[in-house]
């Protein structure tokens, strides 16, 4: 017991690092995927649609093990489990986040696009100054949801020896010959202790956003959420 809890806390810290690292990657990559997906050139947009679909509908654990084994060979140098964990988790959820961005972008009224053209903004200016500032705030709660979903997915990365909580519990069990009840229950409790309050926070954020912007805007947000393909809840 005296060793278990510190070990789990270390595992929790690694879990948090992996979650935020992967979330940052997923946010950036997801945005790129979402914008490429809207490209007028069919040669770009169609493969993007299938790439996103492919990443989204195949298991994270397979993708992670694949990258864990193939990436070091490919680039000719060893990579840490945390690096590969962040890369694979981030890549996997970039597919989900691209759908979130898409729904946000599609929710921006057409007049805004036309205004950007009329004012002769460059493409970069159009996205950064006009479209994204309107597209992202309404989907922030959904993005928050995914942060929690990703947090709960991290233990899958024990398959690539990432020292998160479940692996820590396993090592503890192996070294002390303890039965699994207490360690695994504690892991579950730790997850619950982080993810449940966080999900309450996200729900609060969502309600506040809906209220702040008035009902009409709130409806628009709700409509947008219903359009997110393959959305997962927490």
């Amino acid at each position: 017991m005296n060793e278990l809890i510190p070990a789990l806390l270390r595992g929790l810290w690694i879990t948090v690092q992996a979650t935020f690292g992967a979330f940052a990657l997923a946010c950036a990559l997801g945005l790129i995927l979402a914008i490429l997906r809207r490209a007028r050139i069919k040669w770009v947009s169609v493969p993007m649609v299938w790439l996103i679909e492919f990443i989204r509908t195949t298991p994270l654990v397979v993708q992670a093990v694949f990258m864990w084994m193939a990436l070091p060979r490919l680039i000719g140098m060893p990579l840490s489990a945390l690096t590969v964990g962040i890369l694979s988790l981030g890549l996997h959820y970039s597919a989900y986040l691209s759908e979130v961005y898409r729904s946000g972008i599609e929710g921006v009224p057409r007049g805004q696009w036309e205004a950007a053209v009329a004012l002769n903004f460059s493409p970069a200016q159009k996205w950064l100054r006009i479209i994204l500032p309107q597209a992202i705030p309404p989907v922030l709660p959904v993005m928050g949801n995914y942060l929690i979903v990703m947090f709960k997915e991290v233990p899958v990365l024990m398959a690539i020896t990432l020292g998160e909580m479940l692996l820590a519990a396993n090592s503890y069990i192996a070294s002390t010959f303890a039965d699994g009840i207490v360690p695994y229950s504690l892991v579950a409790l730790f997850f619950l202790a982080v993810s449940y309050p966080s999900s309450l926070l996200v729900r609060l954020m969502e309600r506040r956003l809906n209220r702040q912007r008035g009902t009409q805007y709130g409806n628009r947000i709700r409509n947008r959420r219903s359009r997110i393909r393959g959305e997962r809840t927490v």
Partner: protein, 218 residues
């Protein structure tokens, strides 16, 4: 190399597909039942039923599927409940996705206009008949698309059974991998393609079911 891949490895991987599909089907069945049980319980008139269901659902959703799987397969035997691999995986997957599915059922039922319930009361349907014949049939088409997505998630979740050594497609592949490390990339690509194909099949079935349900009504 190509011969080895297609004549030896691919058949070996494909031999795991039936177990993956079986796990998915049993898991889906359990998840579907629990979705309705939890979903309806969370809409119950009785606060105690509502509360219990909500707490259970939050407990399940707040912890990870893989942690639940470990708990059921590695911890539960110490409490005297020893489950074989397949039932353990089915229970973990069914319970976990059932909790998520309950939210789908709940919100689809809440989305049926209140007036439909009132019309059913005016025609003197009892509460079971109202649910069974009026509300649920109207909520069902609304549930299908999110259920389709959830089932793809469930299919992906079956790969976690690898951790308890159940011989599904991922486990089968991993046990062969050491002999064919030089074929790493094609093997994993093939594995991902298998999952992708199964996912698309699932989504196709749901789209077909949606069209069937929508036929005539609109």
């Amino acid at each position: 190399m190509i011969e080895v891949y297609f004549e030896k490895i691919v058949p070996l991987m494909l031999r795991g597909v039936p177990m993956t599909v079986l796990l998915m089907l049993y898991g889906t069945l359990l998840a579907a039942v629990l979705s309705f049980v939890f979903g309806l319980a969370r809409l119950s008139r009785f606060a105690a039923v509502r509360g219990t269901a909500s707490v259970l659902v939050e407990l399940i959703r707040g912890t990870s599927l893989i942690v639940q799987l470990f708990w059921i397969y590695y911890a539960l035997p110490h409490l005297g409940v020893e489950l074989p691999k397949l039932p353990a995986a089915v229970i973990a997957i069914g319970v976990n996705y059932g909790a998520y599915g309950s939210e789908i059922v709940r919100s689809a039922i809440l989305a049926v206009p209140r007036e439909q319930r009132e019309a059913a009361i005016a025609l003197n349907f009892n509460s079971y008949q109202r649910m069974r014949h009026i509300i649920v049939p109207q909520a069902l088409p609304r549930m299908l698309p999110p259920f389709g997505n959830l089932q793809v998630e469930l299919l992906k979740g079956t790969a976690l059974a690898y951790f308890i050594g159940l011989g599904e497609v991922f486990y089968r592949t991993m046990t062969q991998l050491n002999y064919y490390l030089y074929l790493l990339v094609p093997i994993f690509t093939g594995l991902l393609v298998i999952y992708f194909a199964l996912s698309q099949l699932v989504l196709l079935l749901y789209r077909w079911a949606e069209r069937r349900l929508a036929a005539g009504r609109m």
